[in-house]
């Protein structure tokens, strides 16, 4: 804004850090006030409005993306690309498909949107196959921005921004391919990228460990910052927890949506001739870790980082650009370069 920020019209403002905390013995010094009730008040309100969560899955066809999503959310969220008896249709170009569902658990309503990217990495020439994805992500930011700058705005702005992008790495066991690097490098600048090793049941535990090691090195060498990003750790507790997570990513996952009988229990798993791979068994695969990260512990964090960091970056770029007239290249709203290189 042009004019300088006027300070609030308070002739005397005194910030007194007078901390009135209960004495260490646990009994209140003066008496109970009831301030902590605000936490419950907040919970009730958020449960009433419900939550939105938007996740994108990226990877070549056949890596089990749809199965993974269904396993994560324990329901038929995505329709699998290849149904038995049908020819799988691989689109000639990357097509983005979004499906929205409302799921509820213990009174908590969640509007879940899963965006699939069939065609990614499936062509002979995959140059710029990330462009439609980048464009889509930026378009969601644009949509939100437009709502936010309206004069009369909605009480709750609908959030279609991608909160997490799960990237499926084929279980080659060697290194990250150029496509993987290119994609993750570009996208980690505008969205939370969660890389996973797909179909990890083809790797032994040792192979898995080595593969992870190499991937981590690769990511570091190329300065690719995947979720949880080191820069955004809020406090020391967060840092400790996130360091643990960073040591283990990318999670090696196996997806399954069929139940089998193991030791008298019904478990989700993949049945092979040599055994049943239990999806939720941490000894078999790291699916539980992925689920905990994405849903049980870091879901709100994914949304917060999307809103406070990625969206804000987009907004800064966009607002700065609109001062410069003229068309801009191929991707998404004006001014956004194809590879995010104008950052």
């Amino acid at each position: 804004m042009e004019r300088s920020m006027e300070p609030p019209a308070v002739p005397e403002e005194e910030m007194m850090p007078l901390s009135v905390a209960p004495s260490p013995a646990g009994c209140q010094l003066f008496g109970y006030v009831g301030i902590e009730a605000v936490l419950d008040q907040m919970k009730i309100k958020t449960m009433k409005t419900g939550f939105e969560f938007n996740i994108m899955v990226v990877g070549q066809s056949g890596l089990g993306k749809s199965t993974m999503v269904n396993t994560l959310f324990k329901s038929k969220v995505s329709r699998k690309a290849s149904q038995p008896g049908q020819e799988e249709h691989i689109p000639k170009t990357v097509q983005l498909q979004s499906v929205t569902h409302v799921i509820e658990e213990k009174g908590v309503k969640m509007k879940l949107t899963v965006t699939d990217t069939p065609g990614f990495g499936d062509q002979i020439n995959n140059e710029n196959c990330w462009d439609p994805i980048i464009k889509y992500i930026n378009e969601q930011y644009e949509r939100y921005l437009r709502e936010e700058i309206l004069i009369t705005r909605k009480r709750k702005i609908p959030d279609t921004r991608v909160h997490g992008c799960v990237y499926f790495i084929p279980p080659t066991g060697h290194w990250l391919r150029p496509l993987d690097l290119e994609f993750m490098r570009r996208l980690s600048k505008i969205v939370n990228v969660v890389p996973v090793i797909a179909k990890a049941d083809t790797l032994t535990l040792d192979e898995r460990a080595e593969f992870k090691q190499r991937i981590q090195e690769d990511l570091k060498t190329h300065a690719i910052s995947v979720y949880p990003q080191e820069d955004f750790d809020q406090d020391p507790d967060d840092r400790v927890l996130n360091d643990l997570i960073r040591e283990k990513i990318p999670f090696a996952v196996v997806g399954a949506d069929q139940e089998h009988q193991v030791n008298g229990k019904r478990v989700l798993g993949r049945k092979t001739k040599w055994g049943i791979i239990e999806v939720e068994n941490p000894a078999h695969c790291e699916f539980p870790l992925l689920r905990d990260l994405l849903i049980r512990s870091h879901l709100q964090d994914l949304k917060d980082i999307t809103h406070n960091v990625h969206y804000e970056s987009y907004r800064v770029r966009r607002l700065n650009e609109s001062n410069r007239p003229g068309p801009s290249p191929h991707n998404g709203p004006p001014g956004k370069g194809g590879d995010g290189s104008d950052l």
Binding site: M1, P7, P8, A9, V10, E12, E13, E14, M15, M16, P17, L18, S19, V20, A21, P22, Q28, F30, Y32, V33, G34, I35, E36, A37, V38, L39, Q41, M42, K45, M47, F51, F73, K74, S75, V94, L96, Q97, S98, H101, I103, E104, K106, V108, M110, D131, P132, Y136, L150, I151, T152, D235, I295, R296, L299, Q300, D301, N308, E312, V316, N323
Partner: protein, 441 residues
């Protein structure tokens, strides 16, 4: 060629899915709340009321503490707002509480403008937030929110009706802040009078169209208690930090010779109800209403005032920033135009003045020339005269010389004349010798 196509699976739009197992996102409210607890909450209360009506005492009583403050005098020339911030902690909740006091309210003889500093303060907090929101590089998630979440309006316990100052002030504030009216020092009103007083106040508020804060009744968990409490508005409160022994317990109370008024006894006053409503039940709703209703209204009015408009969805949308830039350029252009106009006018005036001055100068020159000529003529005349006179003098001198010659000739032939001379001398005894000579006497 465009390679992007978004196909929405329309048949599955927003269908409710049933889950076959525990997914775990029921922890979401906890995740959200945990974030807030680590950051802390802001809550800002504005106390509007006359000096000495018990605002500070009530705050101390509500929050079970002693906030440092000096009692105000009654000599304030106008109303000013004093804000003080405190950090309170209860279990794992950190509350950044700001209490804003209206110092000098109701003390002046002329109270016409009393409400203005209050409105200005509230607006200033909205403005600060709006400024932050409109910045290009902004940090809203750790912004220290100073917007007023609740306004406690202290009504004096006259027992009759609202003062006109109260009505005017509340009317000015009701679209900007959540107003909770309370009757202060309620221990000075008898119970039967209190009921009448409350009814009178509420009906006056309604008939004057004052919108006070409505305790929310749309959520089932709080609907009942909010509805029950609303009936008792305005809350008749008594504040005290002194403790008095009641039975075998110590309780906050005010001790009189005729009895003890217990603050937390619901038969004695509505303090407990106020605490319930303000803090324990609706604190979050007060914050939410401030942000989604009062602030949005301020923002909309402010932006409309500046000339911004929302475009219809079909046309090319423009960003706030672009419009702002355009407006700014327009404004600068106007400024420039004005400046040019002024400069032109100035130049014109200067020219005019210059012309005037030249004219005057010309006149002066003419006058001067004229004078000079006149002077020269005069001079000539004088010189001519001088010449004439000199000639005359010369002539006279010649005549004189001739006369003397004649006289000397006459003397030689006229010694007989001496007797005559003597006689003449006797006749003209005062004539000088020269003259005698000239006159031949």
């Amino acid at each position: 060629s465009p390679c992007f196509g978004l196909r929405k699976d329309t048949s599955d739009d927003l269908r409710n899915l049933s889950l076959s197992g525990h997914v775990g996102f029921d922890s979401l409210p906890d995740q959200l709340v945990n974030k807030s607890t680590s950051q802390g909450f802001c809550f800002n209360i504005l106390c509007v009321g006359e000096t000495g009506i018990g605002k500070s005492t009530l705050m101390d009583t509500l929050f079970n503490t002693k906030f440092e403050s000096e009692p105000a005098t009654h000599n304030e020339p106008g109303v000013r707002l004093k804000a003080r911030s405190y950090e309170l902690q209860e279990s794992n909740v950190r509350l950044k509480l700001t209490i804003v006091d209206t110092v000098g309210f109701g003390d002046q003889i002329n109270k016409d403008d009393s409400y203005k500093p209050i409105v200005e303060y509230i607006d200033a907090q909205f403005e600060a937030y709006l400024q932050e929101e409109l910045k290009i590089k902004r940090s809203l998630f750790n912004y220290h929110d100073t917007r007023i979440h609740a306004c406690l309006y202290f009504i004096a316990p006259t027992g009759h009706s609202l003062k006109s100052l109260d009505l005017v002030t509340m009317k000015k504030l009701d679209s900007k802040v959540n107003i909770i009216p309370i009757i202060a020092k309620a221990d000075t009103i008898a119970k039967n009078e209190l009921h009448k007083f409350k009814s009178k106040i509420m009906s006056e508020l309604v008939s004057n169209g004052v919108q006070i804060y409505q305790f929310p009744t749309d959520e089932e968990t709080v609907a009942e208690i909010n509805a029950t409490m609303s009936v008792h508005l305005p809350f008749a409160v008594v504040g005290s930090t002194e403790e008095v022994k009641i039975g075998n317990k110590m309780a906050k109370a005010r001790q009189y010779p005729w009895g003890v008024v217990q603050v937390e006894n619901e038969n004695h006053c509505d303090f407990v109800k106020l605490r319930e409503m303000l803090i324990r039940v609706n604190m979050e709703d007060l914050r939410e209403q401030t942000h989604t209703r009062h602030y949005e209204l301020y923002r909309r009015c402010k932006l409309e005032e500046m000339g911004f408009k929302d475009t219809d969805p079909d046309s090319k949308p423009f960003s706030l920033q672009e419009t702002y830039e355009a407006k700014r350029n327009e404004f600068l252009g106007e400024l420039q135009k004005k400046e040019d106009e002024m400069r032109q006018m100035f130049v014109m005036r200067v020219k005019e003045k210059e012309a005037e001055l030249k004219e005057a100068e010309k006149d002066l020159h003419e006058k001067f020339d004229h004078l000079k000529r006149t002077h020269q003529e005069e001079k000539k005349k004088v010189e001519d005269k001088k010449k004439e006179l000199e000639e005359e003098l010369n002539n006279f001198q010649k005549k004189k010389a001739a006369a003397q010659l004649l006289q000397s000739q006459a003397q030689q032939a006229g010694s007989q004349q001496t007797k005559k001379d003597k006689d003449k001398k006797k006749v003209f005894p005062f004539l000088p010798k020269k003259w005698r000579a000239m006159l031949s006497l």
